[in-house]
Symmetry: C2
Subunit: 233 residues, 2 copies
Amino acid sequence: MPHIIGQGQCATCQIRHLSIFAELEDVLNEDIRSFHPSVMVFDAAETVYRQQSVANSAFTLRKGVVKLIKMLPNGRSQIIRLLRKGDLFGFDGFAGEAYNHTAIAVTNSEVCRLPLNELMALKKKNPEIEQAMMMRWIRDLREAEDMMLELGAKKAGERLASFLFKWCGENGSWQELPLSRLEMGELLGLTIETVSRFLSDWKRKGLINESRGSMQIADADALRELVCMNGSC
Amino acid sequence: MPHIIGQGQCATCQIRHLSIFAELEDVLNEDIRSFHPSVMVFDAAETVYRQQSVANSAFTLRKGVVKLIKMLPNGRSQIIRLLRKGDLFGFDGFAGEAYNHTAIAVTNSEVCRLPLNELMALKKKNPEIEQAMMMRWIRDLREAEDMMLELGAKKAGERLASFLFKWCGENGSWQELPLSRLEMGELLGLTIETVSRFLSDWKRKGLINESRGSMQIADADALRELVCMNGSC
DNA sequence: CGCGTTGTTGAGTGGATTCAATGGATGTGG
DNA sequence: CCACATCCATTGAATCCACTCAACAACGCG
């Protein structure tokens, strides 16, 4: 079960530089010093909030990976976004709306719960927060646009390769990738089997490597060559 | 060629109630009275701005329909969003970014060009504008999320039907739908032929009607019954 | 009228899904 | 430590949905 492990100290938080409070240079700022959001922990697969429920808190991810998903009545589901350390989410309440998606922990995670009314007051008094949130919304929107291009205009292999490039980078480094085949499919609009087939094929060809939940792009050029033949990525 | 037809009078603009200035109740507000964005007209197919170019203006659509599109190097393209009267677009500059998509007029259109620096100043002085823009960003993001579900989790017929329901409503009214088959395809991630086949089929079955660029859902229940059999919409 | 553009329809192909069986890893209890 | 259960990934075979290619029809326009 998710539970609260304490009250956060935003002013001295380790991930403050990633958060919407990053720009508040004055660490002695009264507002931020007196703001103590609950820090909550979620095990993998536990739900942070549900679509349609009243959005009276926003959240910042401190640790772990969280997925935002939408579901169809028939059970098919789509991962809308993957969240990493420092990401702000669940802010529909700012527009007076209920949550538009469900947030579920992919790995064990730590989350700061930011009550909407407190955050709103804080934002009103500190324009830097307002600014930081605006930057994030615009960035989120841009990424959503990019994702629509992926889903609408690319084929299976192209989507999967794009995703790996984005997640792992192109420099051959190993990156933790805590997603199951099912989840990669739900993110990219593909089935388990399709994801598995492409990954297996690329592994056989030595283009990527995988080990204990981590992934490496061994030969980015060759992968791009193989998948994105005519400039399709 | 697109051209400027004059300076807008925001305070007395006919679509002010739809714009980000709607909440500024004080019509005598000095700021808004002295703000005179250029009003530009674009013929169908003309470009408002291009992806990658410097985003030094945002825009409000006064009249017509504009599409935001992204293109792949190989020519495939995806319509990210359709804009209607009152919509705000092209605000990437607020995050210091270049435009992330290309904006093209679908029909003859009128657009207000809002220089970024002026709009920023206006926003800083008038929290209502800030608030209105925030609401829009969040709404835009929610719609983008909905679209990701469409593109990632639904089949061709389901996507097309959802789109028609959203555009035409469910009450059997006629709505102008100034999109070609190609554009509907680009919006929904389908080909011309697929769109045409479904629409022809539904017309033959008397579920929808089309005439001179307008569309009507004649039998919403039957359409939903046919397409969304197991709760897939 | 001829022409270009857009929409329709058919036939064939192919890509991704579905269905099904197997394999591998992990964990639990005896 | 092994037997067993469970979960996830892999692989094959068959199916189906949407795409591609192609021909033709409809429409608007000069």
